[in-house]
């Protein structure tokens, strides 16, 4: 593989040099470069025209093969309420683009083939047709405006409106180099004030110790969410820009030091249910098949075998933030209301944390 790449680089260098020498040649004198072999004849034109046709066919075959072959790598169904709307928008846009792409590319290559150079053939002089131009400018304008307005803008406004929910769960997601913390707002469902200038000892998130709202806040290392209850996330960063990316919930928000950003969604599928979908069980089975093969090789060479893979929701960092950016993630657990409450009871409030630190 590496040898191949080296050869590839060498080849690219040679091509670059060859092209430069060709340009220098072309720049010299017209007589020198117009030797007989350089002028295209009917046979050349015929061959090139067919190549155009083969190329577009090969491109479509490859495209369709990729869509079928890489199905496993597509994101599985959305696990949030707005996710379905988001996905249908994505599919609608993709379908429209595919139709236009199919038509324009097919025409471009078909015409190159059909009107390939022939001796004695004369091109039709046809410089303008206002009606034709108007039609193929107006149609894309209308379609695009429709996509942007009805599809994009209304969905965007609806999804980005964090105040639309009744009785949402308020949660803070806190980013630092390189990890995440969650702060639950406790019984009052209100987060206490916070600023990095309060960070000290066990107060790792900089919660204001004098703010009464913060006393019942709880800091956790895993994001647990009750299913079917809207969640309003408040994002805060301690050092540099991060981005909270929750692909299965179709959610992403910049996490900016010095300000609070917000996003809200309603998770609709518990972790357990998501794991047992047909798509996911099949995917996990395939991954573990590969891992088993790999483990055999590893054990044969005296290494430790790989653990079997199990699916979990994850929150990932999606903005370059430093050396361990690639590994900056946090597990998300979506569970029933009872399980969530049970888990919440095991967490420590900020008040207790401070009291423990003093003792």
């Amino acid at each position: 593989m590496t040898a191949f790449l080296i050869i590839l680089i060498a080849a690219l260098f040679v091509i670059a040099l060859w092209q430069i020498s060709k340009i220098v040649q072309l720049g010299k004198s017209p007589e020198a470069s117009s030797a007989d072999g350089e002028i295209a004849n009917d046979a050349d034109n015929d061959r090139q025209g067919k190549y155009m046709l083969y190329f577009v066919i090969a491109m479509y075959v490859m495209m369709i093969a990729c869509f079928i072959g890489y199905q496993d790598f597509f994101l599985p169904d959305a696990a949030s309420e707005h996710g379905a709307e988001y996905d249908s928008l994505l599919i609608l846009t993709t379908v429209v683009i595919m139709i236009v792409q199919f038509l324009t590319q097919a025409l471009l290559h078909w015409f190159s083939y059909k009107y390939r150079g022939k001796k004695g053939q004369k091109a039709l002089f046809y410089a303008d047709n206002d009606r034709l131009e108007f039609i193929w400018t107006a149609i894309p304008v209308v379609v695009l405006a429709g996509l942007i307005l009805w599809g994009g803008l209304f969905s965007w406004n609806d999804i980005m409106d964090v105040d639309k929910h009744e009785d949402p769960l308020v949660v803070e997601v806190y980013a630092y180099q390189f990890g995440w913390k969650v702060r639950y707002s406790g019984v009052d469902n209100t987060l206490g004030d916070a600023n990095v200038r309060f960070i000290e000892g066990s107060n790792i998130l900089g919660i204001d110790p004098t703010d009464a709202d913060g006393k019942d806040d709880m800091v956790a290392t895993e994001l647990h969410l009750p299913v079917n209850r809207p969640v309003v996330f408040n994002f805060r960063s301690q050092d540099v820009l991060h981005s909270a990316y929750m692909p299965h919930f179709r959610a992403q928000m910049n996490v900016v030091p010095g300000m609070v950003t917000k996003f809200s969604f309603t998770p609709t599928v518990t972790s357990e249910d998501y794991k047992s979908t047909e798509f996911m069980t099949e995917k996990v089975r395939k991954i573990n098949e590969i891992r088993r093969q790999k483990s055999k090789e590893l054990e044969a060479s005296g290494d430790v075998a790989l653990d079997p893979y199990e699916f979990e929701y994850y929150l990932l960092c999606n903005k370059i933030c430093g050396a361990s950016h690639y590994n900056m993630q946090m597990k998300i657990v979506v569970e029933s209301e009872e399980d969530y409450n049970k888990w919440l009871e095991t967490q420590t409030t900020f008040e207790t944390t401070l009291a423990n630190a003093e003792n």
């Binding site: 593989m1 590496t2 790449l5 080296i6 590839l8 680089i9 690219l12 260098f13 670059a16 430069i20 340009i23 720049g27 009107y115 004369k122 091109a123 039709l124 002089f125 046809y126 410089a127 303008d128 047709n129 131009e133 400018t137 180099q177 600023n195 990095v196 200038r197 960070i199 900089g206 301690q238 050092d239 540099v240 820009l241 910049n254 900016v256 030091p257 010095g258 300000m259 903005k319 370059i320 933030c321 430093g322 050396a323 361990s324 950016h325 690639y326």
Partner: protein, 327 residues
């Protein structure tokens, strides 16, 4: 009669001697000839492109076999690939410098610098650019900024690594990552010089197209290629200064303790004094260039292809006026 001819040739000879005394240096190095400057841009752009390609090959090798030792990494990256395993910071540095080189040095300077310089005077019927001297300065500033960008690969803590968008605070705080020290300083210096070069070039293209067209070459008869270069140059003149401002403010934040983009930052166990700025401001300034940049990259190629296809099908361009309006 003979005398007259003799006098004329003598005069002509004298004249030629005066104006066309070309040495190797004035012809190939500090040339003010638009064709030579175009070739200089082409060769520099191609070399930068080859370096950018090499970087993307290294990145793909790392992605194909993550965290695996590789003799090529050891040979090429040295101390940044201890035992042949690529350091994550260097992966990010490759992402950053690859992006910067490809977007700015290849697709902006390499594309516009080569084709605008070569084709504008030839296709509008002008002798040369409006200012050959500024054109030369533009190339040499580009060369200087390329040299600085490449030299940043060799500083002790590595080149800039905050992504090609260099968002602060990651790029502003030296403690945030190794590449945000000397490497980022060199990136900013290089880009400041690059923007100066790009502005000189673009101004020259705009002025040449407006003022130096030959008799009868009205704007509505301008080849579509030239229209594309012309609009590209205008977009460049309008948007690059904003990136320059962003870079300048970032330099102030980094070196003189201002807080344009920084606020409430706790890093490596201490709170920074910066207060009241916003990284989002930088994002806006950056993308004021970043969005038009896609047109700077796309339009020359659109103009060139429309004309090549039209010429080779022996037909006039269909809907010339509509295309110009779309530009």
């Amino acid at each position: 009669m003979g005398q007259v001819i003799a006098a004329a040739t003598e005069h002509g000879h004298d004249d030629g001697h005066h104006h066309h005394k070309e040495t190797f240096v004035t012809k190939y190095i500090f040339s003010t000839d638009h064709k030579m400057i175009a070739k200089q841009y082409l060769i520099t752009g191609l070399i930068m492109g080859a370096i950018g390609i090499l970087m993307s090959v290294l990145m793909r090798m790392q992605i194909a076999n993550p965290e695996q030792p590789n003799v090529i990494f050891e040979a090429l990256l040295g101390k940044w690939a201890p035992g042949g395993v690529m350091d994550p910071n260097i992966y990010l540095a490759l992402v950053t410098i690859h992006g910067t080189i490809m977007v700015f040095f290849v697709l902006t300077a390499g594309l516009s610098g080569t084709f605008s310089n070569f084709l504008i005077p030839l296709q509008i019927g002008a002798r040369d650019m409006a200012s050959g001297f500024l054109n030369m300065v533009s190339y040499w500033l580009f060369f200087l900024s390329s040299a600085i960008m490449i030299s940043s690969l060799f500083v002790e803590l590595g080149p800039a690594a905050a992504g090609w968008t260099i968002y602060p605070p990651l790029s502003a705080v030296a403690k945030a990552m190794p590449g945000s020290g000397m490497g980022m300083t060199l990136w900013l210096v290089s880009m400041a010089i690059f923007i100066a070069s790009s502005l000189l070039g673009s101004l020259n293209y705009v002025v040449t197209v407006i003022n130096m067209r030959t008799k009868g070459m009205s704007m509505t008869r301008l080849p579509l290629t030239i229209w594309a270069f012309f609009v590209t140059a205008i977009i460049g003149v309008v948007s690059f200064p904003v990136l320059f401002a962003a870079a300048l403010l970032l330099i102030m934040d980094r070196s003189f303790g201002t807080s344009f983009f920084l606020s409430d930052i706790y890093i490596k166990g201490e709170v920074l004094a910066h207060q009241g700025g916003s990284p989002v401001l930088f994002e806006h300034l950056f993308w004021f260039l970043g969005h038009p940049e896609v047109y700077i990259v796309l339009l020359p190629a659109l103009g060139i292809t429309s004309e090549i296809i039209a010429t080779n099908s022996r037909k006039p361009i269909f809907g010339y006026r509509a295309m110009v309006a779309l530009f």
